[in-house]
């Protein structure tokens, strides 16, 4: 099964291995997920921005990330041995939100699956951009660490305004914040990734790097 489809099902909490589950049900879920994935890809207008900034570990334990300063142990751990940081923002655009809104009103079963599919499309897009960036840095003898997003661990969402402003994300790719620091369009991602002169050891990223091991949506260890 392709990765985006697998991820779509995972976001839905569907693991497809329940023995009591009827075969027709399984086929129905797969077909629905595939169809929604197709529709999510069609609606998406993915765009992204990035900007490199110098990184300093301040005496008082705070991090100076160029665009802003913050205190976060989780982020500090992710930026260990790094000398710079790559800020990143990506979005699938407003049309995806409109589609989700439309189904949310008219056919919520489909909205649920589409929501998962759009998240999978966005993640895959970010992965693809990061893969290219990683190669670019490696050709210069530098190493890009996994991306880490505000709102995870103790990396505060309050960093969002400075991060997005620094990237001019509103003007250039249309990511705005609501009064409560939610991103609109909703299928958007911001992240910081460390830039280091030394390769990382064995890197865990995404789900596996998260401390919440009892999460229902955690990726299988396999």
């Amino acid at each position: 099964m392709e990765k985006e489809l697998r991820e779509t099902l995972r976001y839905l909490g569907y693991r497809g291995r329940t023995e009591q589950e009827p075969e027709t049900g399984r086929q129905q879920m797969l077909a629905l997920a595939e169809d929604c994935l197709r529709e999510a890809r069609q609606a998406a207008r993915p765009r992204c921005l990035w900007k490199e900034q110098p990184l300093q570990f301040l005496e008082d334990g705070r991090l100076d990330l160029g665009l802003f300063q913050t205190r976060s142990q989780a982020l500090a751990k992710s930026l260990k041995d790094c000398t710079g940081v790559l800020f990143f923002a990506a979005t699938l655009g407003a049309e995806t939100d409109r589609l989700l809104g439309r189904y949310g009103r008219l056919q919520v079963s489909r909205a649920v699956v589409l929501q998962a599919a759009a998240a999978a499309v966005l993640e895959a897009y970010c992965d693809q951009v990061f893969e290219e960036k990683k190669k670019e840095y490696e050709s210069r003898g530098q190493f890009l660490r996994p991306r880490f997003s505000p709102g995870y661990g103790d990396f505060s969402l309050e960093c969002q305004p400075a991060l997005l402003a620094g990237l001019e994300a509103g003007k250039r790719i249309g990511i705005t914040l609501t009064g409560r620091y939610l991103m609109a369009p909703s299928k958007s991602v911001t992240a910081a990734a460390g830039i280091s002169p030394v390769p990382a050891g064995c890197v865990t990223e995404g789900c596996e790097a998260c401390g919440k091991t009892d999460c229902a949506y955690r990726r299988d260890e396999a």
Binding site: Y14, V108, T176
Partner: protein, 810 residues
């Protein structure tokens, strides 16, 4: 403005990057320097003026009440006044030039995609305009807009709070679209409707990438065009943004812009006085010509532009209570979902525009019209036709409409024109003009033509262009007057020939009072199209009508190689409208009669498997044999229980649970109709209020809970998303509602949930509160004072049963 007639007019270039070069720290708002370092701001203006530009843009791009609150260190009033003063000082020093007050995006996305209300956006811009006009700005420039709705708010505010000329420019991406959808054609129609003096494009792209979209705009615009590109494409170099073309290359590209017909030229990000100087040197002596009047009749939604004239346009007539008891019931019940479904189905059937009429004596039409337009435009992307005779309803709908609407209607009565034309002038729109006046409907084409002429003249006095009128020659039933069809058709023909104005008809009226109306309607439709009808208000769900439409296009050289005709009819010779290739992104059509479905499944099975169409059909079949209440208790409840239990055991998953719920809902609708026909009104088990709390714009969780609660016969009062605590408390208090469900997705919005619960305890102490959302837990919910944390949608159904038990049940 006079200068624009004679020669190219030049605007300045970038400001923010120059301020940073001169020491503005990254992360600090550029407008702060209007107060802190006015000499630097003034100097930059002066350099642009010395480079030869005619208009400098005051440093107010990001100045609004959100960023500079009145009670902050730098109140908006001071920031804007100082900005205009800097620019005016520079103009004085240079001895020439005019000052534009700059309106940039607010930085927030408007509802429904974001959390900023349209009227709040109008207010924010209004404040800046008032201050800027008072400070002496010469014109207003709304720029770098990437959302048509925010653009409309800015232009409206500029017009409402000043008499200054208004320029408006938007950002397109490489594919020629706004970030929120929208094309050169839709933006131009919107802005011309709002009556801007200059429109155009800025930012986003360099002059090279911008050229194609500039050409597109020049082709459709009857208004002077301003183009201010970036200095090429940006890239990040050592943490700084740099642009890829120099001043010479920029100037050469801009010269070409001037040659292809752009009237005003300037620069945006990355451009400097050097770019502007060189641009002016090359463009100064280019010939200037104002754009021709294009005479295009265009209505738009946020993303689509529909041109009337050429291809016949279909306006879906089904959102209208006239003669539809089910629709009237939906209006009385405030059943917005029913209306949205009518809209979505018509889009699937091929409508290009949707007529919206919600007039019913017992409802508050102005507020319901506004709400319906808001809801429809958040779910569908078709332009709307605002159909009302109530001027207040018309104004409220036009104001919040995201685009340039069709307006139905005005007529030859003085009173009607006095009420409607000022609205058309202010908000833009294409208005349907009925050929009747104080003396009624003339019996002859001659008489109707005379009224059409009088309406055109009066419109002109209001400054409304002829291309923004559509004449309705009026269709009266042939059962009352056998000549009526001929009179109508003759009027259509002569309006086209003698007035050169577009025509529209409510086609179905022709057969009123006669049997088998489709026969007459479809034949009359063909005759009207042949007479030159441009737009038809019809039921696009009628295959007979759509067959005429497709055939007419194929036979009139309007469907190249009969491509659309073949696509529509080759696969399904029977011509099922569901077989068309209409927008794959549109919601799946409603269950319609004759739609293929598996016939072997029982009602119970079809609900368990989540087959909506089959469930509705099975319910119909069951009703022939059994009593409605027996069907509910013997087929439907067991099915819902089976799925609900399966969900809890993990053998059914959320999407399946919801598909079953939707199937059950479709079956319920069929059964309810039967019950109502027999005079029984099904009792609900009680009312539940649902809302996503203030500040939160994610409503999928709430929508899931809604579908399930409705399945279990609870009446749901859905207050929507981003709902203020006061609105929730008021609703609970008003109807003495016993249960309120709140959802919040993020930690940042849980405090709103807490505020709401606190207020509910005060205003509606009897109400129980259940909460849900991604970040909530049992403990968290308890700590903010909720009565129950619901882990999932089924848990909320159980709690509703617990709280509201004692209702009539099913």
């Amino acid at each position: 403005m006079e200068e624009i007639r004679k020669r190219k007019v030049f605007l300045d270039g970038g400001m923010g990057s120059l301020l940073q070069e001169r020491g503005l720290p990254a992360g600090q708002l550029p407008e702060t320097w209007n107060l802190q370092r006015p000499e630097v701001v003034r100097q930059i203006h002066l350099e642009y003026l010395q480079a030869g530009c005619d208009i400098v843009t005051a440093n107010t791009f990001g100045a609004n009440g959100l960023k500079f609150p009145a009670d902050g260190d730098m109140p908006l009033e001071q920031v804007v006044t100082a900005a205009v003063a800097c620019a005016k000082d520079a103009v004085r020093a240079a001895g020439h030039g005019a000052v534009a007050l700059d309106l940039g995006p607010t930085g927030r996305l408007l509802r429904p995609l974001g959390d900023l209300d349209f009227e709040d956006a109008c207010r924010l811009y209004g404040e800046v305009v008032r201050i800027g006009a008072r400070a002496g700005a010469d014109l207003i420039l709304a720029e770098t807009m990437s959302d048509s709705y925010e653009l409309k708010a800015a232009v409206l505010a500029a017009k409402e709070h000043s008499d200054l000329p208004v320029f408006a420019t938007v950002v397109f991406d490489g594919s020629g679209k706004l970030l929120t959808g929208g094309s050169a054609a839709s933006v131009t129609a919107l802005l011309e409707g709002l009556g801007v003096d200059v429109l155009g494009i800025n930012c986003g792209l360099g002059p090279v990438q911008m050229k194609a979209i500039v050409r597109e705009m020049l082709e459709v615009s009857s208004t002077p065009v301003l183009v201010s590109p970036n200095a090429g494409l940006p890239r990040s170099e050592h943490g700084k943004t740099v642009y890829d073309i120099d001043a010479d290359a920029f100037a050469a590209e801009m010269e070409e812009m001037g040659r292809i017909g752009v009237q005003l030229l300037g620069g945006c990000c990355g451009t400097t006085p050097e770019h502007i100087r060189k641009m002016i040197r090359r463009c100064r002596n280019l010939p200037q010509a104002l754009p021709e009047e294009k005479n295009r009749t265009v209505v738009t939604s946020y993303s689509q532009a529909v041109q009337i004239g050429g291809q016949p346009v279909i306006i879906g007539e089904r959102i209208n209570p006239t003669g539809k008891s089910r629709f009237k019931q939906a209006l009385r019940d405030h059943d917005m979902e029913y209306i949205l479904r009518e809209g979505a189905a018509q889009q699937d059937w091929g409508a290009h525009v949707l007529d919206v009429n919600v007039g019913l004596p017992e409802i508050d039409e102005p507020s319901f019209m506004e709400e319906t337009v808001r809801e429809l435009q958040s779910v569908l992307d078709l332009p709307l036709q605002i159909d009302t005779s109530d001027p207040e309803a018309m104004e409220r709908a036009l104001r919040i409409y995201n685009g340039k609407a069709l307006i139905n209607s005005v007529n030859g009565k003085q009173e009607s024109m006095d009420a409607v034309f000022p609205l058309v002038k202010k908000y833009g729109g294409v208005v349907v003009a009925l050929t009747l006046d104080e003396n009624g409907i003339p019996e002859t084409a001659e008489g109707r033509l005379r009224i059409a002429k009088a309406i055109c003249r009066r419109a002109e006095e209001y400054g409304i262009r002829r291309c923004d009128l559509l004449i309705d020659a009026l269709c009266l039933t042939v059962s009352a007057d056998s000549r009526s069809a001929r009179t109508t058709l003759e009027t259509v023909r002569r309006v086209k020939e003698e007035l050169g104005v577009g025509t529209i008809l409510g086609v179905s009226n022709i057969s009123f009072g006669l049997p088998q109306r489709e026969n007459l309607n479809s034949t009359f439709f063909a005759m009207a199209l042949h007479s030159g009808l441009d737009a038809a208000i019809i039921n696009p769900g009628s295959e007979a009508m759509m067959r005429v439409y497709s055939s007419f296009r194929a036979l009139s050289d309007l469907d190249p190689h009969c491509g659309d005709y073949i696509r529509r009819y080759a696969v399904q010779p029977g011509g099922n409208p569901e077989g068309t290739s209409q927008g794959a992104s549109a919601p799946k059509p409603l269950p319609a009669a004759g739609q293929p479905a598996k016939r072997d499944l029982t009602l119970q099975e079809s609900i368990v498997r989540g087959l909506r169409e089959r469930a509705a059909q099975a319910a119909e079949e069951e009703l022939r044999a059994r009593d409605a209440l027996a069907i509910i208790s013997e087929e439907m409840i067991p099915a819902l229980d089976q799925v609900g239990q399966g969900f809890e055991k993990g053998t059914f998953f959320l999407p399946q649970l919801l598909m079953s719920a939707e199937a059950a809902k479709a079956a319920f609708a069929v059964i309810r109709e039967r019950l109502e026909q027999s005079g029984t009104r099904q009792e609900s088990r009680g009312t539940v209020i649902l809302a996503t709390v203030k500040g939160d714009i994610h409503d999928i969780g709430k929508n899931i809970v809604k579908v399930l609660l409705e399945n279990y016969s609870f009446r749901v009062l859905d207050l929507g998303k981003d709902v203020a605590p006061e609105a929730i408390a008021e609703a609970a208090a008003k109807d003495q509602v016993k249960l309120v469900g709140l959802s919040a997705l993020m930690t940042t919005t849980v405090p709103s949930m807490e505020d709401t619960i606190r207020l509910l305890r005060k205003e509606a102490p009897w109400a129980k509160v259940m909460v849900g959302g991604a970040v909530l837990t049992e403990e968290y919910a308890a700590s903010i004072g909720a009565d129950r944390y619901c882990r999932d949608a089924m848990a909320s159904v159980k709690y509703a049963q617990e709280v509201l038990d004692g209702g009539d049940g099913l």
